[in-house]
Every structure is written in C-alpha cells, then in structure tokens.
C-alpha cells in the first residue's frame, strides 16, 4: 500500500468537444478547446510551478509563479489563465522565467516562518515543493522586514487550525468556499500588505458562517489550514479509497493512514458522486470509530433488567442460536425476524435477508428504509417500473429548473447541495416546496424563484394543483406523453387533475400556498427548460407518502422531464446505503432486485441456489413486528445496525413491542437505545474495518475498503454468517466479494457487478449487465422499465392527525448539518460543538402568545407523549408550525410522533404531529425515568475473578 497522490492539473478540465493541438517545450499535445496552457502542460507531464492554481478551482492568476513564454506573444502570461490556441508554441522554462519565478518566490519566503522541519505540512506543502522547483537558494530581501509571522493562530474549529502566519494570501481557501462549497464564509480582508484571510466579519472560524466542509483545508497549499489530526499524528504514509458511511450522497474518500491510525479522510477527486468535495461529517467526524463508549466484546443477559455479562463470541452466538431455535420450536417459525441496516454494506444486508428467508424459514425481514424511503420504492415502481431515482448527480449540471420538495439538502445532503448551488449560481431556477424556509431558499448568491411554504400534510394537494395548472393551461408535453406513456391512464389522469376542485385557487385555503405563486411555480417547472425534481423525507414520511411520490412522477411525465440529462425524479436518500438496503431484498415482500416473494420463478431460482424451500407469503414489516410482539406471535428479533427505539415513531409503542419479546439481539457499535431492551449485544464493526459496497442515491455501487482490522474481531457479515451456521443454515463466504458474486448471479440488474469490475470502473450505477456493461447513469432513456409510464390518480386525503384545541400546532421533524440521524456516530465526535441538543423552532407569534423567550425550556406534548427541550424562536417556520430534530436520546423527539403511517408502505408520518407547547422548567418525568432506566440497562457486570 502507498499514499495515493492525485495529479493536480492546475485548472478544471474543459468539457468542449472540439480539440486544439499545440506545442509545449517542443512536444505536441492535443487537448479540448478552452483548456488552460497550465493544464495542457500537465496533460503532457510538464508541471509548471504554481501556488494559487488547483484544478478544483477556476483559474485566478494571482501568484505569478506559472508564467510561461509563448512564441509570437509579448510578455510572460500566466499559464493558468491563458487558454490554448491552435499551433501555439509554449516554453515553460527559460532563463527569463527562471529569474522571474525565483524573484517572486523570494518575496513569498521573506514573509514566511522557516520552520519546515517542525511544520505539520512538512512533506505535503506546495510552497515547499515550489521553492524546490524554482531553485530557491537565497532570499535577498532578508527576513527582518515587516511580516505577518506574529499573527495568532485560530484554533476555534474543532477539526482544523488556521495559522495566518503561514498564509501566502493565494485566495485558494476563499475561492474553495465560494466556488466549491458555495457558502462564501471567507474573504480577503484589507488591502496590500494588510490583506489577510478572514472568516465572516473577521470572527473566529467557529463563530463564522463556515460549515466546516474542509474545502478550504483541502485547497490550502501551505500549513495555514491544517487538520488537527495531522498536527497531532503526522503525515500519513498509506491510503485506500473508500466510501463515506454517512448520507446517501456516497462521497469517495481517501482514508489516509499512519499504521492503523486514520490521520485524515480526504475527499477523492475521482469520486463520481462528490467530485472531490466533502462535508463536516464525512471529512472530519470519524472519531466515533475509536470512541471510549464503543463496545468491543459480545454480551448477554437473561432479562433486560439484569446487567450485561461479557462472553466469548462462541458463547454469544451459541446462546442466540439456542434462543431463536427454542422460540421457533415453541411458537412457530414465523415468531422470529430481523432488521437490516442502511448503514451496513450491500453484502451484509443481503446476508441478513438470506439468513431470514433461508435460515429462519420466513420473510420477516425489514429495513430502516421502512421509515424513510419505502414510499419511493412503491411509487416509482408503480409509475416507472423501477424503485430508484432516474439520474446521476452530474445531471444537475444540465438542469434549468430544480423543483425541491420536502428536502433540506444543505443540511441532509450537503455535498450534493453544493453542486446544486453551483448550478443555481450559473442561472438555473429553484422552486422549493417546504413548510420551513430552509437555507437553500435564500443563501449567498442564491434565491429561490418560488418558495411554497405549504401546511404540513398537504403535499398531494399542492402537487395535484401544479398538475392542474400544467394540464389546464396547455403546458403538457403531448409528444412525450404520446410516445412514452400509457394513454388511457393519461386521459383519466388529465381529466382528474383538470377538475376545478384541484385548482390552486380552490386548494390554497387548505395548503396555505397562494394560488398565484403556485401557478407561477408550475409554469416555470413546465416551461423553464430541463426540469429536475429532487425530494426527501418531507415527501415520503406522511400518510400519503406513496401518493406524493406518484404525484411527483406524474409531474415529470406530463412535462416530459425524463429520459435525458438535466431532468428526472431524484429521491435524496437519507442514509449511506438506503438504496442498497432496498435493492438487496430487505423488504418482507421481495427478494433482491425487487422481485416479489410470490413469484415462482424467482423463488425457485433461490431455492435451487440456497438448497431450501422458501416462503411465498410476505412477512411482517417493522411496525407489524412490534404489534405482533405485543400480541404474542412475534418473540425474537435480530437488529443489525439500527436503533429503532430512537428512530422509529411513537417511542412508547416501540418500547412496548421490544419489551414483549423473549430475545432481542442488537448488533451495533454502541449500546444504543434499542439495546436497553436487548438480551444479546453483538459488537459491530465500522465502515473502516471491513470490505463491501454501498449504493448511493444515484444507484452508484461503490467499494468500501477495509483500512484496519475490526476492533470487535469480526466484520458484520462474518457475525451474520456465524449466527447462520449456529442456527444450522450453513454459510461459508470467505470474502464479501463472494457475496456480491452471488447477488450478481441471481439479479439481472446486478449481473455485471463484481469487485474486479468495480476496481476497473471505480464505481458503477445499476442496472449493470450485458445491455449496460458500464452501468446506467440515466434511466428510462427510450422507454420506461415498465414499458409505458403510468399516470396514477392522486386524490388528496387529509391525514387523520388534526390540530385542535388540545394540540393546536403542527410539529414537523428533520436534521441538522452536523448530526446524523439518531446521532450514535456524530454525537461521539466533536460535531457536538455545533449541535449539543435538539431544539424546538417556533415562530415569534406562537412564542409570544405562550410567553416564551429564546432558549426557554418548553414542554412539547402530543397525544402520543411528551418531552421537554429548549426553544429557538425563528421565522423560518410559519405560525402554527414547529420543528425539531431527533438526534439526541435525551430529548427522544419520537416520543411525540404518532403511529399514523403511509397507506401503502407503513412509512411513519413523522412530518405531521399535532402538538401543544407550554413552559417547562426542565426534563419531564418521563425523560428522567427513561434516563434512569437507560443507565440501569447499560450496566456491565465486572468480569468474574
């Protein structure tokens, strides 16, 4: 293994198709028109010295190091800002250039601390490299003049240091923040000698608008911006490319190592999902892997009120198997089940569902996608024929209008949000449908053309009203519909939506969206060029989540916004492997590749391969499992990598279901909240400790690479295999690649996927098979997977969760940038510096009428339960709407949410809960009792003498 060093071409690649040939230092090179001379030279293998240029940023031309001479031209132009022209003859090294560069470098070094041997960037410093390249041997100006060497370092950010004494004012950090991240938090303050990099209004980084994405650190050519882990550990010596285990963007990172220590995670430039960018979670929040609270030994206990007892792996696995066998013997084979995790790899997920179907002999397997994107699977399969988004992320570069519904990408999918913002700054238009004024509605250099702040729960009414406008105003794309869609279904749908009762004017009282604004938004989406829909859990987590997904599909079909770049229907997946968990057969009704368990041919395929008879009836979904547990017919559950007590709705219901079971097995990194009700704890491994693949929101299958041995002893796939063998269903995989081979052999859309193929291609988007050996970036090009696209009638049916005198406000929930889901990982990193507790956002009007001040403790109550937290007064939310996050178990926001769910999939209705708010003086009795119970439950008995 060695340290992966990517070539820096100095300026971005040109996307022009026309080519230009020129000569550089006597060698001919042909490059796309628009390429800089600097990049053309690097393509040839000639590195022109540079400081302010890097290929993630547009050319700037300030450092004066990359000067070249061009035959027939006067002077010494900067090669970064000079585009190639046909027949151009360039010299990158002449006596004049040598003299000029050396002189400029002398100026830089005259104001730079010469502490290279003790500098954290020693060995990874472009200033040092460039000094070497230009042959710097002396600094004629001396070091005694005015300088910046006494400038104080800013240590406020928990992850990186800003040491202005080492800054050369090249502006790379400022430009990275502007061009790549799109936050515009940094600037060059002052003029001339006083010029300096400043965050915000010259505040400490931590107090500024900086979102700690790391783009500035990545761009810095000196040690000015340096990861604290590099300062602490030293430079890495080897690296492997792997995939982030946080959100569904699926960023590629180089895990840069020194021995078994992760020195830093560096975004990989060739990563096709992130194109070299990162966010605060993936870039910096990996410390949980070695957190002191991580459990590394298996544990068992007879009763959940007992302390845990550490045991060997053999004993833990044997105990679990004996419990599951006993329960199946006493209560029938359908009395047990499992939950797969969207945090685990495809191979691990596949294995858990195989264990259930072949080992347990039933279909009681479900996944955490149940509570997020199960409606996407149902809705898109019904309308298009495939349970997945239609585009790749690159597609956004061709979008003219983005319709963003129920998603908050700057917090939930920040790296993709940066790409969206870049396109918006180039002139694309944005429509946001969201009850809250999320950051992307108005941020530096971006303003949504339309923000439709709908009343929570009225998505279907809003989208059907948009369809009404498109159909009744003659904006439908008739040619597309005639060629690509089921015409009978279209005719019925068009008649349905054209009914005046679906007009914006008729529905505005219900939705809260002004009719003229909705009409304008519908017209823009239908006529503004390439229209792309991006959506999130604000769409799916409703009692009509599936209907909303189908309404979205209808809108894309009626406008012909499918089957090419720049358009499409794009679910933004919450967790790293939501798409993969769904693909891998985690749902109780379908095998890998979305084939129903009742399909005889598919079942026979697996029966032949797995050597057992398989059940043809669907199994229980997670909420059904919990109901059946209270009923006594479901008694044992194997949960891999999910914390259903904290993440699933109506905590009291989840707790009652878990408490009713005879054997709950939790496989996780930490004693999570679900483990409070567990009898067996099997310590899991992190993404750094195993091989596998994740599939991101664009269907991209990417490698996860093991960079260290599992601290718990086994990868999660190995633990499932141990359990299966102990249960009597043999599994004998020696590497996850063999599991992927089995997936490919049984799944048409994965037929071409293998680890060697992923090594060659880097990553691949399914379908990947003989028809598409390099994968499928954009789906439904010429026809839909189901043949003709199906328009579905989307009648608005109000949720049964209603406000009234007892509960007059509507609560909706979401995430913040720095935390991830239940916070099990991010709460155990320095990310808590940004978000230490869940807060309740409330409009000033609602706060005023309740006598609340910003930061007050409030009691939040619904018909399900109550909790207390602090409030934050903001007009981000409309009057009558309140909002909170669910990252902290001390708040347990889901004690408030109800058991209402989507009609088709049972995806919980997290986004609409009727609540009341009142003053409080601290945690509720329930919170205090829960905390005491959790403490009691986490006791680990001392090892026997």
């Amino acid at each position: 293994m060695q340290l992966i060093k990517e070539t820096d071409y100095g300026t971005p690649a040109s996307k022009a198709e026309a080519e230009v040939s020129l000569t550089i230092d006597g060698f001919e090179v042909t490059v796309p028109a628009g390429t800089s001379v600097m990049r053309a030279a690097m393509e040839l293998g000639v590195k022109v010295p540079k400081l302010c240029a890097t290929d993630s940023l547009e050319a700037f031309g300030s450092c004066r190091m990359c000067l070249v001479e061009i035959e027939g031209r006067n002077g010494t132009p900067a090669s970064c800002t000079t585009p190639v022209t046909p027949g151009m003859s360039v010299k990158t090294q002449t006596p004049l250039l040598r003299t000029l560069r050396k002189g400029v470098m002398e100026l830089y070094i005259s104001d730079h601390p010469l502490d290279c041997l003790t500098c954290a960037a020693n060995g990874d410093c472009e200033l040092q490299d460039t000094a070497g390249e230009v042959g710097l041997r002396e600094v004629r100006y001396g070091y005694e003049g005015d300088n910046h060497l006494c400038a104080e370092a800013d240590e406020s950010n928990p992850y990186f240091t800003f040491d202005p004494s080492k800054c050369i004012a090249c502006s790379r950090c400022v430009r990275a923040c502007d061009e790549v991240q799109g936050t515009f938090a940094l600037t060059i303050q002052g003029r001339g000698f006083g010029s300096k990099v400043a965050a915000g209004m010259d505040e400490p980084f931590f107090e500024s608008e900086c979102v700690s994405c790391g783009a500035c650190v990545q761009a810095c050519p000196t040690a000015t911006l340096t990861e604290k882990t590099v300062i602490e550990i030293g430079q890495p010596e080897h690296s492997l490319v792997t995939t982030c285990a946080y959100c569904g963007v699926g960023c590629s990172f180089k895990a840069e190592m020194r021995g078994e220590d992760v020195v830093r995670m560096v975004p990989y430039k060739d990563g096709k999902a992130n194109r070299g960018h990162s966010c605060v979670k993936g870039r910096f929040a990996f410390g949980y892997a070695s957190h002191r609270e991580r459990i590394l030994n298996p544990m068992i206990r007879d009763k959940i009120t007992d302390p845990w007892r550490e045991v060997s792996w053999d004993e833990a696995i044997a105990y679990t198997a004996s419990q599951f066998k006993r329960i199946q013997r006493d209560y029938g084979k359908d009395a047990v089940g499992a939950i797969t995790s969207s945090r685990c790899t495809n191979e691990e997920t596949f294995l858990v569902q195989k264990l259930v179907r072949a080992g347990f002999g039933n279909n009681n397997v479900d996944t955490c996608a149940r509570v997020c994107h199960s409606p996407t699977g149902y809705g898109l399969k019904t309308t298009f024929g495939t349970s997945a988004g239609t585009q790749d992320f690159d597609s956004v570069e061709h979008s003219d209008v983005m319709l963003l519904i129920g998603a908050n990408p700057t917090d939930g999918h920040p790296v993709f949000a940066s790409r969206m913002k870049k396109r918006l700054r180039q002139g694309a238009k944005l429509i946001v449908v969201d009850p809250r004024r999320t950051d992307i509605v108005r941020s530096p250099h971006i303003e949504a053309a339309h923000h439709l702040p709908l009343t929570p729960g009225t998505n279907v009414a809003v989208l059907t009203a948009m369809a009404h406008v498109i159909v009744t105003e003659g904006l439908a794309n008739e040619a597309f519909i005639r060629e690509r869609c089921d015409l009978d279904a279209y005719a019925a749908w068009a008649t349905f939506v054209a009914d005046p009762r679906y007009s914006p004017e008729e529905t505005q009282a219900l939705t809260g969206v002004p009719a003229d604004e909705l009409r304008a938004a519908a017209r823009l989406y239908a006529t503004g060029g390439n229209g792309a829909i991006y959506y999130g859990l604000g769409v799916t987590e409703h009692s009509q989540g599936t209907t909303t997904v189908m309404a979205i599909a209808n809108l894309a079909m009626v406008t012909g916004n499918l089957g090419r770049e720049g358009v499409g229907v794009n679910p933004l997946r919450g967790q790293n492997n939501v798409q993969g968990a769904c693909d891998m057969g985690s749902f109780p009704h379908e095998f890998v590749g979305y084939r129903h368990v009742s399909d005889d041919a598919t079942r026979e395929l697996f029966e032949d391969l797995w050597g057992v008879k398989l059940e043809r009836e669907p199994g229980l979904r997670i909420p059904n499992m919990l109901d059946a547990a209270q009923d006594g017919s479901f008694r044992a559950l194997y949960v891999q990598g999910e914390d259903i007590l904290q993440s699933d709705p109506d905590t009291h219901h989840v707790a009652a279901g878990l408490a009713a079971m005879d054997c709950v097995v939790v496989q996780d990194l930490f004693l999570n909240e679900t483990a409070n009700y567990a009898h067996v704890f099997l310590p899991g491994s992190t993404f750094l400790e195993k091989d596998g693949t994740f599939t991101n929101a664009e269907r991209r299958i990417q490698r996860v690479r093991k960079v260290m041995a599992p601290k718990n002893g086994y990868g999660d796939w190995e633990i499932t295999q141990l359990l299966s063998n102990a249960l009597g269903y043999p599994m004998a995989y020696s590497h996850p690649s063999q599991i992927m081979d089995e997936i490919a052999a049984t799944t048409p859309s994965f037929a071409g996927v293998s680890y060697p193929a992923l090594e060659t291609l880097g990553s691949v988007q399914w379908p990947c098979n003989a028809a598409a050996p390099e994968g499928t970036p954009v789906m439904h090009l010429d026809s839909f997977a189901r043949g003709k696209g199906l328009f579905v009638l989307t009648d608005y049916i109000a949720t049964e969760e209603r406000t009234g005198s007892r509960f007059p406000l509507l609560l909706t929930t979401g995430r913040v940038l720095s935390q991830y889901n239940v916070g099990a990982q991010t709460r155990r990193t320095a990310n808590v510096a940004w978000h230490q507790e869940d807060l309740l956002e409330i409009h000033p009007f609602d706060a005023e009428t309740r006598g609340l001040k910003d930061g007050d403790w409030i009691k939040l109550a619904s018909r399900s339960g109550e909790t207390s937290l602090r409030c934050q007064i903001t007009d981000r939310v409309a009057p009558g709407v309140v909002y909170t996050t669910f990252h902290h178990p001390s708040t347990q926001a889901n004690v408030i949410t109800t058991d209402f769910s989507d009609w088709a999939t049972n995806c919980p209705e997290y986004k609409v809960t009727a609540v009341q708010i009142s003053s409080s003086n601290g945690p509720t009795d329930w919170q205090e009792a829960y905390e005491a119970q959790a403490l009691q439950s986490r006791r680990i008995a001392p090892a026997a003498e």
């Binding site: 669907p618 199994g619 059946a628």
Partner: protein
C-alpha cells in the same frame, strides 16, 4: 394483533384506491393486502370480518371478501 389497527390500515388502503372507482378499488385493495400483508394479519382481520367487521368501510369489506 389489534383489530382496530388492522381495520384502520385496511380502510386507509381502500380510501387510497377509492378514486379509481369502486370495482377497481376493491380489486386493488385485495391485491395490495395479498402482496404486502403477512398472512397472520390477513387471518386476523378476516376473523374480525366474520365477527361483523366493525369499522371496516365498504371497499375494504368487499376486498377482504375476495381474500377468502
């Protein structure tokens, strides 16, 4: 499993399909229950139906009839 919960879920499905017209809605509801409900859930709601089917709306009731 609690009958009222099963009834609520069945009615929700039936109401979602109701816009298609009664005949289609009955068939679609029955098909949905067959494809996505665990057999014990179907068994228990049929027991509830046999006991009078309190709370079931007309489409859900007719769909359950098709499951026998």
């Amino acid at each position: 499993m609690q009958a009222d919960k099963l009834v609520h879920m069945a009615n929700q499905i039936a109401r979602a399909f109701a816009v298609e017209g009664e005949a289609k809605a009955v068939a679609a509801t029955a098909n949905h229950l067959k494809l996505f409900w665990d057999p014990r859930m179907r068994r228990e709601i049929l027991v509830h139906l046999d006991a009078g089917g309190e709370g079931l709306d007309d489409v859900a009731r007719a769909a359950l009839g098709l499951l026998r």
